[in-house]
Symmetry: C2
Subunit: 250 residues, 2 copies
């Protein structure tokens, strides 16, 4: 499973069915989640849902949607990671959330336009839904509507917690916090956590944490020098999860 998940990230490798059937559905390669992280839908309902969407692929750094663009699809991620961000006029960028396989992004709108930017951090596969059809599907299926609502609540909560981190923690605490959270999120998505895959670049992490990439790099070095973690290519081995968690103010 862990290997399958790494494949889902990089976009390479063969898809593996994780459901109750041999024949995989578009979004069942890796974590089987309904809308976002929570409340998995029944397999059959999930199947119905995918039948109203189309599959799309995106290259790393490609934009799925831009803030201000007239509304298009909502995207359920099959593999890869999408960063949803807000960009200021002068170019400063705040990444609000990383969306993992199984989650849906691109649903927030302000009078008919996308509210935020969505960019592929890795190569990405999506199941893309016409917004109207998605909404009416949700409206006519109570369990889907429920899943959507729960997902919204979860997201609101996640973003809130993240804001506390950005607003209150020091740079090293923020990086530690980021790694802890990432590890937790991975395990919720039934993905490998040891070693921990770090698919995003330093810039992305910095823009997510409200820091400069140099500061993030220094924080990593500091954690490394304290023997808390170690690097292996684009993966991280966390030697001392307890100390890491303690550092992150949790």
């Amino acid at each position: 499973m862990a290997i399958a998940c790494k494949a889902a990230f990089t976009g390479k490798g063969k898809a593996i069915a994780a459901g109750r059937e041999a024949r995989p559905l578009p979004c069942l390669h890796c974590p089987v989640k309904a809308f976002n992280v929570c409340k998995p839908l029944e397999y059959d309902r999930q199947k119905e849902l995918f039948e109203i969407g189309v599959q799309q692929t995106w290259r790393q750094r490609q934009s799925l949607f831009r803030a201000g663009d007239p509304l298009g699809a909502v995207f359920k991620i099959i593999s890869g990671i999408v960063a949803v961000s807000e960009r200021l006029a002068d170019g400063r960028r705040q990444i609000l959330d990383f969306f993992l396989p199984g989650e849906v992004c691109g649903f927030l709108q302000t009078d008919g336009k996308y509210s935020f930017d969505g960019e592929a951090i890795t190569d990405v596969k999506t199941c893309s839904f016409d917004r109207r059809r998605f909404d009416s599907f949700a409206a006519s299926h109570h369990d889907v509507a429920e899943a959507v609502k729960t997902a919204l609540e979860e997201k609101l909560q996640q973003v809130s917690h993240h804001m506390a981190a950005v607003g209150q923690l020091t740079s090293t605490e923020r990086v530690a916090h980021f790694l802890c959270k990432l590890s937790i999120t991975y395990s919720e998505h039934e993905m490998q956590t040891r070693p921990l895959l770090l698919p995003m670049k330093r810039t992305d992490i910095a823009d997510y944490l409200g820091l400069r990439l140099e500061t993030v790099s220094r924080a990593f070095s500091k954690l490394k020098s304290r023997g808390i973690l170690e690097f292996e290519d684009d993966e991280i081995v966390i030697h001392d999860p307890t100390r890491l968690a303690h550092l992150s103010g949790l």
Copy 2:
């Protein structure tokens, strides 16, 4: 109307009906909003809703709910302001949002407990709902469920924008941004904006913006010295809204 709203904040003064009838409903004193900021419910539905709640009053600095407490009511604010915040183990506090009259707070949960702290910034009146009854009311009334969903989306969006501010703006920009947003929010709630009432203390603003109260104070002084704004008791006169907006990165 403006005066009525100021009364709604301070908790003093007489309630004024703003609806289609003379006899005011609990939450109709000031801004007539359904769940949060958006999608006002029809008057009759609103009335039904209030009949399943009870009215409560809270003194300034009193806690409505605490993170980790077993779940109790959800609170629709009639008058006053509630700050919802997250507190770290060492006492650091991040205020996530200020809830104004008409909005509902205390709905986010993590396995049966409140997720965040809710504290009365001013004296507060609420219409408090038993969570189960509120949910089942929403479940059986499609318009209410719709309002709840829209409100969740709006909140998610608000918090996201705020995170971009906290993560990317400088101290002065943050304070300017805060004032701009506050002014906009007030006008959405049909409350007076000139002069702008500032019911929260410097500490609260600081904890909201991820700054120290001294830094907030200095930012105010800087804006004042540049002739952009001026103080009058606990109110602010904004002389140059354009420059303020420009400073806030909007």
